[in-house]
């Protein structure tokens, strides 16, 4: 696979969220404001790319039996780097995201890519795969949060879009709406593909 194919595959055709239904918990939790989604997405891209790179670099040396322990250690280290960076340079963002930065560690996409890709491929390919998977994840977060923030708060990226006449949909701010939005998103993207498959079969 060329580098471009790796990126496109992990970002779109094998998108972790809508294809593999991974990373759902955080995708639902931080999507009521676009700015939160953006920072969460960037944090995940950073962690995915660098943990993939590091794990791939060490793949020949990591003992098979303890590979998950090693992966967790590497992922956790990068997450702490993100957390410290936000605390020191973007304290407002760090406060807004609260515990979610720490929870990047438990994002199953990261371990999923480490197991499925980084453990078997070359470092640069793994880096690209990580960026791709992170990009795909961020894309989903942004799509969902655009709708949720617009209807729930009447704003986009914190800027007022719909005026006072707009009755805010409280459901959009709350967690259940994220489930609806995610389901609709999967339906829109995967529906036509599934139908095509059925027709062919």
């Amino acid at each position: 696979m060329t580098k471009k194919e790796i990126f496109l595959s992990s970002a779109f055709t094998e998108n972790s969220v809508w294809k593999q239904i991974l990373g759902i918990c955080s995708a639902l939790a931080v999507t009521n404001l676009m700015s939160n989604s953006m920072v969460m997405g960037l944090g995940v891209i950073f962690t995915l790319a660098l943990s993939g790179f590091t794990i791939s670099l060490l793949r020949e040396y990591i003992p098979k039996r303890i590979r998950m322990m090693v992966q967790t250690l590497i992922i956790a280290s990068y997450v702490i780097v993100v957390d410290l960076f936000l605390r020191a340079f973007y304290p407002d963002m760090s406060e807004a995201l609260g515990p979610y930065v720490g929870l990047i560690i438990t994002n199953c996409i990261i371990m999923g890519r480490a197991e499925a890709f980084a453990g078997k491929n070359r470092p640069v390919d793994s880096l690209i795969d990580g960026i791709g998977a992170g990009f795909g994840y961020t894309l989903v977060l942004l799509l969902i949060s655009t709708v949720r923030e617009l209807f729930g708060f009447g704003s986009l990226l914190g800027r007022e879009i719909l005026g006072d006449w707009w009755t805010r949909w409280s459901i959009m701010v709350m967690a259940p709406s994220a489930f609806f939005m995610l389901a609709i998103l999967i339906w829109i993207i995967e529906g036509p593909l599934q139908r095509k498959k059925l027709n062919k079969g």
Partner: protein, 208 residues
């Protein structure tokens, strides 16, 4: 030589050895990063505390440290530090650090009251771990500011606030809760009441 290397990599000790090395490696990186950023983080916390206190008393912020030293005295009672705000020699009010349980973690905040303790001057949140976008909205100014000017002590009892839906008109003992974050809203109200009781208990009538 090659044989020996291969043997070591298959031995029981290799995973232990590997884990040890990699742990030491990553921990030293993180420790270095922590040491290089901790001053920044500390400085930010100091600025945040001073800004919040000045903001609560509606004092000017443009020259933070000068105004802080001019208007605020830090006092100690037991092991609690609290802050007294002055305008020249007139006491504007007292500001106490308060904390309690939120939905996910500890909420720590500042509660400022008038010199006679009867009315809330202001309330602001320093740190919280509520759900971003839901309970996290307790840091939004409309929510925090609705406590300002409300009576907290009447006939020497600490009042308890009732929560009403977001956007509804409130009376003296009501505050608007955040839609979708009932627990966090309740937590804030509870912290204010219970901490106020503690403060009154501790300082009684002689709180100078």
């Amino acid at each position: 030589m090659r044989e020996g290397k291969k043997l070591f990599r298959e031995s029981m000790l290799y995973p232990v050895f590997f884990m040890l090395i990699i742990t030491i490696f990553f921990i030293s990186i993180l420790a270095t990063l922590h040491l290089t950023t901790q001053d920044r983080i500390k400085e930010y916390k100091r600025i945040k505390l001073r800004t919040t206190i000045l903001e609560i008393f509606a004092l000017p912020l443009d020259d933070l440290d000068r105004y802080y030293e001019e208007h605020i005295r830090e006092k100690k009672s037991g092991d609690i530090i609290y802050y007294v705000a002055f305008a020249d020699t007139v006491v504007l009010g007292y500001c106490f650090p308060v904390m309690g349980n939120g939905l996910w973690g500890t909420i720590s905040a500042l509660l400022a009251v008038t010199p006679d303790f009867s009315t809330i001057v202001g309330f602001d949140i320093l740190a919280q771990n509520e759900t971003p976008g839901l309970g996290g909205r307790i840091t939004e100014s409309w929510f925090k500011n609705q406590f300002s000017g409300k009576k907290i002590i009447e006939d020497s009892t600490v009042l308890e606030f009732n929560l009403v839906a977001e956007g509804e008109i409130t009376n003296n003992i009501q505050v608007n809760q955040i839609t979708g974050a009932t627990q966090s809203s309740k937590a804030v109200v509870k912290i204010i009441t219970s901490e106020m009781k503690r403060i009154v208990g501790q300082f009684g009538k002689n709180y100078d």
